[in-house]
């Protein structure tokens, strides 16, 4: 028999009274190569703008989605079993307000341009009818075009909990055309761009969070190498340090 019982309002209030709000989030770009950062900086898109301002101008974001690739098996007749063989990551789409210096637009436009700037763009030949494109290597330490440390933080107004998504190998894939039209003066220019990435990690991937045992959304008291240390080991390490 199903377990159905009366639920009082007092019981359900803590659950439904503390729901997450969609308007508390922050986007932070980072992990760009020196080559890409210089390429952007030379176009008035400073490192500070990339690391802070453009994320604050992100008017709508989406937390990343993923799915599991599965294969089917029919070893038991009449039954189809599913087995996971891969995690599949989906694109994300971010929309930005555009400042009156167009740095948000330049940021995305020239990031994408940089990926195909392996040829002679620096020589100014890009205006030539005979221009052809070559590519930058994606992961070259000095000149790669992928971001290795872009994050989206989701939190609430009390900042008590933060849900963090870390994107590895992120790059813009598709910059939507920006609609412009005559109309009320209050209408703002908005930029929407789709990003692809190699994978993401839910939770922090910073080294100090790993040391604290809170990376990857782990509880602080969950097993990690700090908590795995026994008191005797810690005393031994301390003694070695002071001797």
């Amino acid at each position: 028999m199903a377990e159905v019982r009366n639920i009082t309002l007092e019981e359900i209030r803590p659950l439904l009274g503390n729901l997450s709000r969609a308007n508390y989030y922050q986007v932070q770009f980072g992990g760009l190569s020196t080559g890409l950062s210089n390429f952007l900086a030379s176009r008035d898109v400073s490192r500070n703008f990339v690391g802070s301002d453009v994320g604050l101008m992100c008017k709508s974001a989406s937390l990343p989605g993923s799915s599991l690739g599965t294969v089917e098996s029919g070893n038991f007749h009449g039954v189809t079993e599913n087995f996971v063989y891969q995690k599949i990551f989906t694109e994300i789409s971010l929309s930005f307000y555009c400042d009156d210096e167009y740095r948000g637009l330049k940021f995305l436009e020239h990031w994408m341009e940089y990926a195909v700037s392996g040829g002679n763009i620096r020589s100014g030949a890009y205006a030539s009818p005979q221009y052809n494109y070559r590519l930058q290597y994606p992961n070259d330490p000095g000149t790669g075009y992928k971001s290795q440390a872009t994050r989206i933080f989701k939190f609430e107004n009390n900042y008590s909990q933060v849900m963090e998504y870390n994107f590895i190998g992120l790059m813009p894939k598709s910059l939507n055309s920006v609609p412009l039209r005559y109309g009320p003066n209050s209408e703002l220019t908005e930029i929407t761009c789709s990003f692809v990435y190699d994978r993401y990690v839910a939770g922090s991937i910073r080294s100090y969070d790993y040391v604290l045992g809170t990376s990857n959304n782990l509880l602080a008291n969950a097993a990690n190498f700090v908590n795995d240390l026994r008191i005797g080991d810690a005393v031994s390490i301390f003694n070695n340090l002071i001797n």
């Binding site: 040829g119 070559r134 290597y137 992961n139 790669g144």
Partner: protein
């Protein structure tokens, strides 16, 4: 790869949880003396390639399509009872007659000597009579008239064919009696086969160092699969060419051999195919390295797999699936 080299793609450290394919380049070591090993087992080049030190190692990611196909050669074979009896009679003939006389008869036939042909005809007739008598004598009580007729038809047909007619005894028997001789069909072991493997690898260099590795890997395979013109000891340059290098292939998991996948014997690289515009139009990085390439290698083992190759394996499968 003049001195020992290791090339790897992707160009990264290999951790304990990283699975990959290791391909060692070794010099082909022929069975120089065709020396016999124990009993009548010939020493093989594959066994030699297993012993020599590698010239270099190429580490590649697990290929897209991993499969093996083991086979031995079995074929169906027929032997009707009359042919078996004839063979038996032939054996009796060889065993019981003067071999020197038989050689003389065959020699006479080989000289297109009509008398020699007559001798052979007589021998066949004699054999047929021998078989027929053998059958009749052995199973007279059990044989009915149809069997007697079939036997007669078969040997008449055989006799007619000797003079150039194209008569099929089985067809005649089937036409006249609606039955055929029991073929006693069974599957017979015919021999061993050599396994072949085709592996396909996708190259998408992520930085300049990986581009260099990709180039070196492709270059190494091309160079090492090519025959060598510096063969010596043959009485002069240009008379012989030397076998290419061969390859020892292993599936690896961290520093150990893969605990599940199959093992390979030393292989020759028979075909190599590289697509430099794999799924893309021609497009390159600033150093002209193509964006995506696909290398397909077709190997074949130097020697067959035998049951004794499993002697060193645990039966509980801890050594993987075997060869």
């Amino acid at each position: 790869m003049a001195r020992y080299q290791v090339y790897r793609y992707p160009n990264q450290q290999i951790g304990a949880d990283y699975d990959y394919m290791s391909i060692e380049v070794v010099e082909y070591t022929p069975n120089r003396s065709a020396a016999l090993g124990q009993g009548f087992n010939l020493t093989t080049a594959g066994a030699g390639a297993d012993r020599v030190s590698p010239k270099g190692t190429i580490i590649l990611p697990m290929p897209d399509n991993i499969q093996d196909s083991n086979s031995v050669n079995w074929e169906s074979d027929n032997l009707d009872s009359l042919s078996a009896k004839a063979f038996s009679a032939g054996m009796d003939l060889i065993n019981e007659t003067n071999l020197e006389a038989a050689r003389t008869r065959l020699k006479a036939a080989g000289n297109n000597d009509a008398s020699g042909t007559d001798v052979i005809m007589e021998a066949i007739k004699g054999g047929a009579r021998s078989v027929k008598n053998s059958l009749l004598d052995a199973g007279a009580a059990a044989m009915d008239s149809k069997v007697r007729g079939a036997v007669t038809q078969k040997f008449v047909a055989d006799g007619v064919n000797v003079v150039g007619a194209n008569v099929n005894a089985a067809n005649i028997i089937s036409r006249t009696s609606g039955q055929v001789l029991n073929p006693n069909m069974e599957l017979l072991f015919k021999g061993v086969t050599l396994r072949g493997f085709t592996y396909s690898f996708s190259f998408t260099p992520r930085d300049r160092s990986e581009s260099s590795q990709c180039k070196a890997i492709i270059n190494t395979f091309k160079r090492r699969m090519a025959a060598k013109k510096d063969a010596t000891g043959g009485g002069g340059d240009g008379i012989f060419i030397k076998a290419p290098d061969v390859f020892r292939i292993k599936f690896m998991s961290g520093g150990d051999e893969h605990p599940f996948l199959y093992k390979l014997k030393p292989c020759a690289l028979k075909t190599m195919n590289v697509v430099y515009t794999d799924g893309t139009p021609y497009m390159t990085y600033d150093d002209a390295t193509p964006v995506k390439m696909r290398m397909t290698l077709s190997f074949q083992e130097l020697e067959p797999v035998y049951s004794e190759d499993y002697n060193d394996f645990d039966n509980n499968g801890s050594d993987g699936v075997g060869f």
